[in-house]
């Protein structure tokens, strides 16, 4: 006999004017190797077919299934029930727009983020189908891949105190994305151009540095290092901007 599990699940249908946010309780007996993916599907198929939640790969790869699991953002598919107490509370990720129950709209948020940081290689070159590829050291390729591993699950954003109070705050995932392109020699943007995206309270200087983000990242991306690196670089860049204005020949001097 497996443990009796009690699930308290957030329920709310924003499209239904009669629906009010509340917690609903479901019971299941724990089975061998049970994950929250298995549990939630069983609840939907056996107890309440209206329950909304998202899964895709069910293998910790696609980032669909992030939710608040006993207060902590994590991927439901790779969370085994045996690592949790018998009382399990599931809430949707904060910050993102609620679609219903445990399902939130990460798609729109991340598309907007990718547009904002212009998440693509900026280059003046055109692709020549006859030419061999440009060379790159394997070490650098692996470094880029290290940052490219973000699955856009949104856990870091959900855990971020700043993002929770300021909806426009870009969040660690955006900083990580910028760091990824700064590292890439194929991207020809200047530090100043990255700075333009990152400045202000929505950007790197709005970050409180408490690092809730790195602790919860299911891909264990070294977000802290990226934040530190960006702060340093942006710090230098802003000093250069300042000097650019006040030094001879600068903006200030030209007035």
């Amino acid at each position: 006999m497996g443990r009796p599990l009690k699930f308290s699940v957030f329920r709310f249908n924003p499209l239904d004017p009669t629906s009010v946010p509340h917690m609903e309780t479901f019971h299941l007996e724990e089975t061998d190797a049970m994950t929250l993916y298995i549990a939630l599907n069983r609840i939907r198929e056996e107890q309440d077919p209206t329950l909304q939640f998202d899964f895709m790969c069910r293998a910790g790869i696609c980032g669909s299934c992030a939710m608040m699991i006993n207060g902590r953002p994590d991927l439901a598919c790779h969370t085994k029930t045996k690592k949790l107490p018998t009382d399990i509370t599931l809430l949707p990720l904060p910050v993102f727009k609620l679609i219903g129950d445990l399902s939130v709209d990460t798609g729109s948020w991340f598309r907007a983020m990718n547009e904002k940081v212009e998440s693509y290689i900026h280059t003046d070159k055109t692709f020549d189908p006859k030419a061999p590829e440009e060379r790159m050291s394997n070490e650098l390729a692996e470094e880029i891949y290290e940052l490219e591993r973000c699955i856009e699950c949104g856990c870091c954003v959900a855990a971020c105190g700043k993002a929770n109070i300021n909806n426009d705050f870009m969040g660690a995932t955006a900083f990580n994305r910028i760091a990824r392109f700064m590292l890439d020699p194929r991207d020809n943007r200047k530090t100043d151009e990255y700075f333009d995206v990152l400045r202000g309270d929505e950007g790197i200087f709005g970050c409180l540095g408490l690092l809730g983000c790195e602790d919860v990242c299911p891909k264990k991306i070294p977000l802290q290092d990226q934040l530190g690196m960006l702060r340093r670089k942006m710090g230098f860049a802003s000093i250069r901007h300042l000097f650019g204005r006040i030094l001879p020949g600068g903006e200030e001097a030209r007035k």
Partner: protein, 619 residues
């Protein structure tokens, strides 16, 4: 109801859908991609191992070229593929890989100097040339003569999809995620778009387009044990079958992958064996070298899966509460290799199995993996039967995989076919106008509205959609698996016909305003059952063994009678598909011969068009 107009509508925003969208958008055509999930969550992101292209940069790939890649692909397909497509594919793959590098993929690169690699559990030396340093490297995959599979650690699909979607963002291609296409709008001659359901609100929408592309991925979820994501239920093929005109090519060509983990069927990449991992049985002994002395663990997937099943059947499986399995052993590759090149594998083992692959063996068993069949198209990607309808990627039967796809050839197909088909669509769109007939649109929408209303009212019955889905999955798993025979196939067809009647009586248990996840499933269930019937019935008719289609009662590959492709269509009111056949290729650059692994008897063709068939080619 919201209506959207566009030049090109891509149903699907995985690698294939997005690559086509990028091609059309680059030519200035307005493009919308639909996807059930945010595009970066598409199934393509789950591909770990890599993408084949004959760059020939690394020392074990030296001398590789499109000719060798072509030959491997044709052999891999067991001569079931279209050789013109395979040729186009092999020639374009290196360009596609380099283009992806140009767009930002951090492909692993050649590191000059001495190194070691494993094969069959033994260590070997290799020396990478100084002059190739920094070029794109490759790893070994099953069924290939050279190391040809380009990769980024074991996150190849992830980096490809993110880079492709970056391109989509750069070009400003519109993506509507959480939108589910549920039927094509057509008048029997021309396709004009789709009726779709908004999965955020539950509302219906009409998308009207000059060209419509089906790029919805595979139909793996019609099987119970599958490595596929939960949304891969074949909805693109369902759209095509529902027209009664557009054929479903080679439904019976379903591939099983040797290494799904037990019990969850999550895949661990072929890269494990490519990098030197070995398969072991209950006694901790290797066995593949007994059956396949040459290629051993690296014969093609169909062959390895069959020998594994055979080995389990003769009692060499490891007993477990989930049935017998075998072991995959990568321990000898060492922590450093596993933690960098097979990092996702390590994560999957730790998180889903509580197994540490550095010190423990991984429980594996073959699971359904890939759909070689799909919406039948010509070499330009145009679907048979309807003007303005195209297909690409796993949803399509283009058809370069024939009866067995080689590892790494699918990611390559999504991008190469995406590029080729995208350019052809751009050509098609130039100067093309379509007459959107409002009554056709209205009828299509009304029909879907009526279906949903009937489901919600429970007008046709009260069958549980989940119970019906389980019945479909069980029937295919039991009757149309790795080994097939007449009795089991007949039983599967009979069972599925009963299930099909049940699928028409599905009713929704719950009424809610807006999104109702049960409705989404219910709208597909008849279609899934039709797919399953096509798979089972086509497999029953094909009395030979070719690639992944292995008939115990017809063990030989029969080129004399079966060197042809199945075309399944579904006439309204029928409870079985109509099967027609066409020749797999008019061009026989490589006449039918032996594959060089998976020894089998061949009955050669007597058709004079199959050049050289009188003198079978040998390896």
């Amino acid at each position: 109801m919201d209506t959207f107009y566009t030049d090109l509508l891509c149903v699907g925003a995985g690698l294939a859908g997005e690559r086509v969208a990028v091609a059309a958008a680059s030519e200035g055509f307005s493009t919308i991609c639909l996807s059930i999930v945010p595009p970066r969550r598409s199934h393509s992101s789950a591909a770990q191992g890599g993408m084949q292209a004959s760059l020939g940069n690394c020392c074990m790939g030296e001398g590789d070229c499109p000719d060798v890649h072509f030959a491997d692909t044709v052999k891999g397909s067991d001569w079931g593929c279209d050789q013109e497509c395979a040729r186009l594919f092999a020639e374009t793959a290196p360009i596609a890989v380099r283009e992806m590098a140009f767009w930002g993929i951090p492909w692993n690169r050649v590191v000059a100097g001495e190194g070691t690699y494993y094969k069959g559990g033994k260590q070997y030396q290799k020396i990478e040339k100084k002059e190739m340093e920094g070029t794109i490297t490759a790893r070994d995959f099953g069924g290939t003569a050279k190391w040809r599979t380009c990769y980024t650690s074991d996150g190849t699909g992830h980096t490809l999809l993110f880079t492709m979607d970056n391109k989509v963002v750069e070009l400003g291609v519109t993506v509507h995620d959480r939108v589910d296409a549920i039927s094509l709008i057509h008048d029997g001659e021309t396709c004009m778009g789709v009726v779709a359901r908004d999965l955020k609100t539950g509302n219906l929408r009409a998308y009207l387009a000059k060209a419509t592309l089906i790029a919805t991925g595979g139909y793996g979820r019609t099987y119970r044990e599958t490595t596929n994501a939960v949304i891969n239920d074949g909805s693109g093929v369902i759209l095509a079958l529902d027209t009664g005109i557009v054929p479903f090519g080679n439904p019976e060509a379903v591939q099983f992958h040797p290494t799904g983990i037990v019990p969850t069927n999550i895949l661990v990449t072929e890269g494990c064996r490519g990098d030197g991992g070995t398969l072991k049985d209950v006694n901790g002994e290797r066995f593949m070298h007994i059956y396949e002395p040459g290629k051993q663990e690296l014969a093609s997937r169909d062959v390895v899966s069959r020998w594994m099943t055979h080995h389990i059947r003769i009692g060499k499986g490891v007993p477990s509460p989930y049935g017998p399995h075998l072991w995959l052993d990568i321990r000898h590759l060492g922590a450093a290799h596993i933690k960098t090149k097979l990092r996702d594998v390590e994560e999957i083992c730790n998180e889903f199995l509580d197994v540490d692959p550095i010190t423990q063996m991984i429980p594996v068993r073959p699971a359904q993996h890939y759909s070689m069949g799909g919406v039948r198209t010509n070499k330009d990607g145009a679907a048979y039967g309807l003007k303005g309808l195209f297909a690409a990627g796993e949803a399509a039967c283009w058809d370069m995989h024939g009866f067995n796809r080689l590892g790494g050839n699918s990611l390559a197909e999504t991008i190469v076919a995406g590029k080729i088909v995208g350019e052809k669509i751009a050509e098609f769109l130039k100067g093309y106008e379509v007459n959107i007939k409002t009554e056709v649109v209205r009828d299509a929408v009304n029909k879907q509205e009526a279906r949903i209303a009937a489901l919600i009212a429970g007008r046709d019955g009260k069958e549980s959609v989940y119970a019906v889905r389980n019945a479909i999955q069980d029937a295919l798993m039991e009757g149309v698996g790795i080994f097939r025979n007449e009795a089991d196939l007949k039983k599967a067809v009979d069972t599925l016909q009963v299930v099909y009647e049940r699928s028409k009586k599905v009713g929704i248990q719950s009424r809610v305003i807006g999104v109702n996840p049960e409705v989404a499933m219910a709208l597909r269930i008849q279609g899934m059952c039709r797919i399953a019937l096509c798979v089972a019935y086509a497999a029953l008719q094909r009395t030979e063994s070719r690639g992944a289609h292995a008939r115990e009662d017809y063990p030989e590959r029969n080129d004399r009678d079966w060197l042809k492709r199945t075309l399944a269509t579904w006439k309204e009111g029928d409870n079985l598909p109509t099967l027609n056949y066409e020749k797999p290729s008019k061009v026989w650059e490589l006449p039918p011969g032996e594959r060089g692994y998976g020894v089998a008897k061949i009955i050669y063709s007597e058709d004079p068009e199959v050049i050289g068939s009188s003198k079978p080619a040998t390896n």
